[in-house]
Symmetry: C2
Subunit: 233 residues, 2 copies
DNA sequence: ACCCCTAAAAAGTCAGACTTATATGTCACA
DNA sequence: TGTGACATATAAGTCTGACTTTTTAGGGGT
């Protein structure tokens, strides 16, 4: 599911990125390029490229005569897909999963509402197809097939919203849904009510009913929040 | 307001980044590191670091024997603050301002609702102070001072939500608000109704009234949407 | 028409020397 | 004892040139 690091600098990032996001180097820690290069057994050029990438993610700051200092978490580019993946892969996973689910609960209802207005006929068809796929795999421990359709469903909604910022959250939502299925205990079949809601959202979008699409999607995301014991409604 | 590029590679990015996000090199265009290095009069090492950063933003892809190819807009990391700044500085500005405003309309109400539950007494005080500052500067063409308090207000709300993803949108919202004041025609004093809404949001958060804070903030963001002629409610 | 082999092109990697900014310590002087 | 100017060491920044690796494209043979 992941793209392994291309090139040497990518491999360095594959271990250094997770280490930093996991808090292995606390904020304010100072690293030196030369030492890192020796440690990873790469040339300084390669190491410098890796540091540049970390710097563009605001994970570290590089200053002359000082070194490469780790920035506090509050300054990280937490929307960077790579940062999200690193955090989801580490000890921060539960926390990251929660904040992403809250983000979903804000974005997806609005996106669904917009989709009701903007979706093309093809997208409406895709949506219905996904919903049907969810129904078909909602019983008999077909969790993997269910998940595929669930992810596709939400991705289509976000894309059909016509908003580029929403569309780019498709991967994030995919990670969250996959995380919920795999990591959380999910022996049982999905909640039938949730399945029905997806079908109804597809309906509402197809009929161009903005308010209903938004309201129904809000019910879905509120369910996701409750699963993680977030907020008392 | 902006951080000029640190180091040579930063200066290269300051002109190459905007050029790419402005669509000056259409998707699929192929650049060669050596040529770019010559054009910008820097060494290949510096140019490579710049390319690495662009690559981490998913603006370009670097492949052997091919070169550095520009990726389609749909793959860009549109949440990267630098990418947002580049786009806001170029021809894409109106479009970017619209998509960000829609994002605001999804996120801020939920953030305000959470703030009502999570805000510390200090944050409540800050919020009230900002709202009062807005009131004080709402008449007599004090747009600049009004803007400062407006930005601070929304930043506090996003921070007080307790969600790291929301908190990091503070800069984005600041850009949008500043853009509205400076670029759009804004000779007149701000809408008194909007000012009142901010005061009321501060009240609701202070009283811990989650639903009311959310509803009032939604009114604010809907106003922002209407200013840009987005959606008929 | 198909496959394999060769060659070229561009990114990738490395090593070493040099430059520049800057944090810190030193010393003179008030 | 405190303060300011200055020297020094340090680590990032930059440049250059040589070499390696991957991958595309073309050519030749069946």
């Amino acid at each position: 599911m992941n793209t392994p690091g291309r090139g040497l600098h990518g491999r360095v990032l594959d271990t250094l990125g997770p280490a930093i996001t996991a808090g292995e180097y606390p904020p304010g820690s100072v690293l030196r390029t030369d030492e890192l290069a020796q440690h990873f057994e790469v040339s300084r050029s390669v190491m410098r490229e890796a540091v540049r990438v970390l710097e563009s993610m605001h994970l570290v700051e590089s200053r002359r005569r000082v070194g490469v200092t780790v920035r506090p978490k509050s300054e990280w580019n937490v929307y960077d897909p790579q940062v999200i993946r690193w955090r989801l892969a580490g000890a921060d996973r539960p926390h990251q999963l929660r904040s992403l689910t809250v983000l979903r609960s804000a974005v997806e209802p609005v996106a669904a509402g917009l989709a009701a207005t903007h979706a093309t006929p093809e997208q409406c068809a895709e949506l219905t197809e996904c919903a049907l796929g969810m129904v078909a795999n909602s019983r008999g421990h077909r969790l993997q097939d269910y998940l595929v359709h669930d992810i596709a469903f939400h991705r289509v909604v976000l894309t059909a919203s016509g908003n580029e910022m929403f569309a780019r959250l498709g991967d994030v939502v995919a990670e969250v849904l996959a995380g919920r299925t795999h990591h959380e205990v999910m022996f049982e079949d999905p909640d039938p009510a949730a399945v029905t809601l997806h079908v109804q959202v597809a309906e509402a979008v197809r009929e161009g009913d903005r308010a209903r699409a938004e309201r129904l999607t809000r019910e879905i995301t509120e369910g996701a929040l409750q699963e993680l014991d977030i907020l008392a409604p």
